[in-house]
Structure formats: structure tokens, C-alpha cells
Chain length 107, copies 2
DNA sequence: CTCACATATTCGGATCTGTGAATATGTGAC
DNA sequence: GTCACATATTCACAGATCCGAATATGTGAG
């Protein structure tokens, strides 16, 4: 893997990083990982207002991480690339180890 | 891996995600991955003003991803957890595939 | 102690992002 | 067409973040 240019990093930031860079969006990604859902279902299972969910989904769709498919009156959102969950899980591991390291130092 | 709570995601966002969520910070992470360096060296090799580098390093240090160790007059910054580079690389892969998918659709 | 190098911090301003509330658009049932 | 459900969008505002420029702090050489 070659070193990324600043232009590539800018694009990465404008898409994938921005998508992952919000707690609620990550919550939505995990919810879609468990099961594809429509907006109302996401709104209810995460207890987030519907307009907020729609806005977050627009960001996720723009990043290419999810797709939208109309099904009758509702729109089903699907996670396109499951690797993003692996990314999130690894970040959680890193954070967990970092916190552990800090508490070790305090002792 | 269990589902993250919104509290855990908030903490994750305030640390790891925030650290990765800036193009220049990611550039610094890659630079430190290649070799541990002091502030001036980073500033010069990435062509970023020194105060800006210092500020970004403070964020990265706060996230627990890098450590600072004084060595004489300079301070050497080191990447603590190399897994973050894997995370960044995977995100680049995801973006690349996403762009490819989009260009396929246009044809 | 003084000077020069190395790093960190403060300040003001511009920009971005998320949110709730309200509203608009789209879709199917009847 | 009309109504109800489903989703998307607009608006104003609050908060966060980034930056360049200037300045402050810290450290070692002499």
C-alpha cells in the first residue's frame, strides 16, 4: 500500500471518514449491519427523530457505504460494504487498549 | 463483538474518530508510521506550519494514538498502535471500491 | 545569564456540522 | 382525487474545528 497523497486523504475525509465520524451514523451502520431497514424502522429502533435519520442516511449514501431502494411506500437502506464494520470494531479495540494502557499508568 | 452503546460511540468519536477525521492528521499518522520524528521534522517533510503540526499532535496524543518523549531540545513523537494504519488502509480500499462501483454504474 | 533553537499556546475569524421544528415531497390505499 | 403513511428538505441557531499569525514557554549551548 503506497502512501496516500493529501488529495486522496481529502477525498477520504469527505466520504468515508465523515460517514464514520458521527456517533449516530455509526449506530445506524451497526443497525443496518444487523438487518436492512427502512427509515422509520431505524428511527424507532435507535430512538432518533426521523428527519435526523434521513439526513444521516443521505450522508452515508453519499459516502457510498449504503444504498437506498424503494419498496412500495418505504425505502430500504442496505449496508453495501461490510468491511466498514470491521473498521469500526478495530477502532473500538484500539480505544479499549488505549484506555487500559492509561489506567495501567495511573497505578 | 457486542453492539456498541451510544455512550461508547460518543467516546470513540471524541478520540479515535476525531484523530483520524482530518486529512493532515492522517498524513501525520502515516509519517510517524514510517518513522518516529520530532515536530520540526514532521513540519518539514509534510510542508505544514509548525504550530499546526503541534496542534494536530496534541489531538493525536489525546486520542492515545501517539506518545511524546522529550529528547534534549526536541520531542520525539511515536505511533503507539500500528493498527490505526490498517484502519486507514481499509478505509482507502473501501473508498476505492466505492468509486469503482460508481463509475461502473455510469457506463 | 544570554542566546538560539524547538515546541506549545493564544487569538480572531472563517467554515463546517448537527439539531429540532416545521414543512414539503412522494407513494399507495380507497 | 383524497387521505394517510413514509421520507426528504428547509430554516435558524448553537457548537465545534481549523487555520494563520503572533506570542509564549521550554531547553541546551556557550
Amino acid at each position: 500500500m503506497t502512501l496516500p497523497t493529501i488529495e486522496e486523504l481529502n477525498l477520504l475525509h469527505a466520504t468515508i471518514c465523515q460517514a464514520v465520524g458521527d456517533p449516530r451514523r455509526m449506530q445506524i451502520l451497526y443497525a443496518l449491519h444487523a438487518q436492512s431497514r427502512n427509515v422509520t424502522a431505524i428511527s424507532e429502533c435507535l430512538d432518533i427523530p426521523q428527519p435526523t435519520v434521513s439526513r444521516h442516511l443521505a450522508v452515508l449514501k453519499n459516502s457510498g457505504l449504503v444504498t437506498a431502494e424503494r419498496d412500495g411506500r418505504s425505502v430500504i437502506y442496505r449496508l453495501v460494504d461490510e468491511r466498514i464494520i470491521g473498521v469500526a470494531d478495530t477502532m473500538r479495540d484500539i480505544l479499549r487498549d488505549s484506555l487500559e494502557r492509561q489506567s495501567d499508568i495511573l497505578e
